[in-house]
Symmetry: C2
Subunit: 312 residues, 2 copies
């Protein structure tokens, strides 16, 4: 939960000689990193973020970096990877794969307003539409196979009721929804991965769960975080605002309308499961304070019990 | 000297449907355009500039758009062309080739300080180094052939002394300097084509004279504007600051040091000549107030008379 690999001013200065970014003005570690080491880097050319990849390997990274470059090129406010003097996005620093990307304005918020949910919905629709012309594919690393495997691992830590709920849900979502528009999804657009600049979306960040999937699933992941009230139920006003704004940017199909309840459940299941895993099977020292799985269990239970879903 | 082609809110709204930029929030004509029609366009995704090309054709434009995209991708603060849903930078609007690019912060200044000249020099060096990995080539449309042809056209409007000066200078620069590092040059980095954000360079704009050429010639064009005093002589302090900052980013070769006086003269000649042409042979209604050629004649004469040039 920190800077895992230390980068000194001398390290970054030497590394920047491979780029056309000017000289270093400021270097500042970002403590929020969970999977990667991040630094704010200010140079003569502007403000950037340096990332050292602690787990992802140089094989995985081209998909993410090319995706961000593609979206930025289409005017989506996401980190734009900077190419070095050999035209490469990916370098190596202190033994880790590393890249430097543009730093975006804004900050993440915890209590989005209706207007902010609408802005987020519109931006998600734009991101999905821009992603349609991106050629690369990536399997969802948190898809059906991962759910089946992970539920087997965590089941033994659960009460019989919770284990039964989990097993049932994994079965319900074992087969993918078909006939739903697919494309590039961010798959983790929680509030803390979005920088708001007032009512505007200033930046979408942290694309390292991005993959190919049902666009509707990405909408469900986003709403399950942005539009949730304290009881783990979707707030009707924020939900409608986000869905309508999305629909104006990338119209939902009839089939998507029908698949909405199912998608909300699948999205809740994914995060209940990963949080159960992080709680019961933490990797060495990685997450000091794993996030509470109960929150997503409750959301899932509420979705299952709901008969009337807010739609457009 | 204005918006040549009117674009309505309905026009741009329909056009934006080809992009992933969100909905139109504001449209505002930019009166400063000389060659193109420009509008500020604000959408849900941010701030952009729309350009309708009034003279350049769709054949010429890929070089400029790809160059800006290349430099932006290397972290140079220049307008970044936005791709449409078919991944294309170039579209058509109201019968003109058109593109939309990112809008940069800052504003142009008229009296640069020593610190600002240093920032500009460093940025020019970074731009040249980033341009070295750009593959496309473009002949300088204001090169030796243009100089010879244009001097023939304007000579008859000049006094015998000025005509002799012009003819002699065109002869002096008829053969290109050899052994000088070449690459992509902006070729028009006057103060009004640079947006300053305090002491930082916020943006380099208007790349429509960019071409392949001697990098040193670009430095000379820039200094002839940024570091000039009221008498048409280079200010020693600003000159040294700009050259040293450039040198730190992209070291000059020994041969470049030797070619410096010649480059300053060639750069002054180019603008004396184009201003003479605009004054004496204006294209229909294009420039209501052509800029005074005398300014660059004086700079040229001063350079010719100078025996000791400020260098690093």
């Amino acid at each position: 939960m920190a800077v895992f690999t230390t980068v000194s001013e001398a390290d970054i200065t030497a590394w920047l000689a491979n780029y056309s970014l000017g000289t270093l003005l400021e270097l500042q570690g970002i403590p929020e990193g969970v999977q990667n080491t991040n630094y704010f880097v200010t140079t003569g050319n502007g403000r950037f973020v340096l990332t050292l990849f602690e787990k992802l390997t140089a094989d995985d990274l081209p998909f993410y970096l090319n995706l961000m470059a593609h979206l930025a090129r289409h005017g989506i406010p996401c980190p734009s990877p900077v190419a070095d003097r050999h035209n490469r996005f990916l370098g190596e620093l202190n033994g880790k794969p590393a890249c430097i990307v543009s730093r975006l304005p804004g900050k993440s918020i915890t209590e989005p307003t209706v207007a902010q949910c609408a802005a987020m919905g519109a931006m998600l629709g734009q991101m999905h539409s821009a992603g349609l012309s991106f050629g690369d594919q990536m399997l969802n690393p948190r898809g059906a196979a991962w759910r089946a495997e992970t539920s087997q691992k965590v089941k033994k830590f659960l009460s019989p009721q919770d284990a039964a709920l989990l097993e049932n849900e994994v079965d319900v979502h074992a087969l993918p929804l078909t006939g739903i528009p697919r494309g590039v999804i961010h798959a983790d657009l929680f509030r803390d991965n979005v920088l708001m600049d007032g009512d505007r979306v200033g930046g979408l960040v942290d694309f390292y769960f991005a993959c190919t999937g049902n666009l509707l699933y990405d909408v469900a992941i986003t709403l399950n975080d942005w539009c949730m009230n304290d009881e783990g139920r979707l707030d009707a006003e924020r939900t409608r605002a986000m869905l309508r704004a999305y629909h104006a940017a990338r119209p939902f199909t009839t089939r998507e309308a029908g698949a909405w309840p199912q998608s909300l459940r699948a999205a809740a299941l994914r995060f209940w499961l990963s949080r159960l895993h992080d709680q019961h099977l933490p990797r060495g020292g990685e997450l000091v304070n794993p996030r509470n799985p109960e929150h997503f269990k409750r959301i899932l239970q509420n979705h299952i019990a709901t008969t009337e879903f807010v739609w457009l």
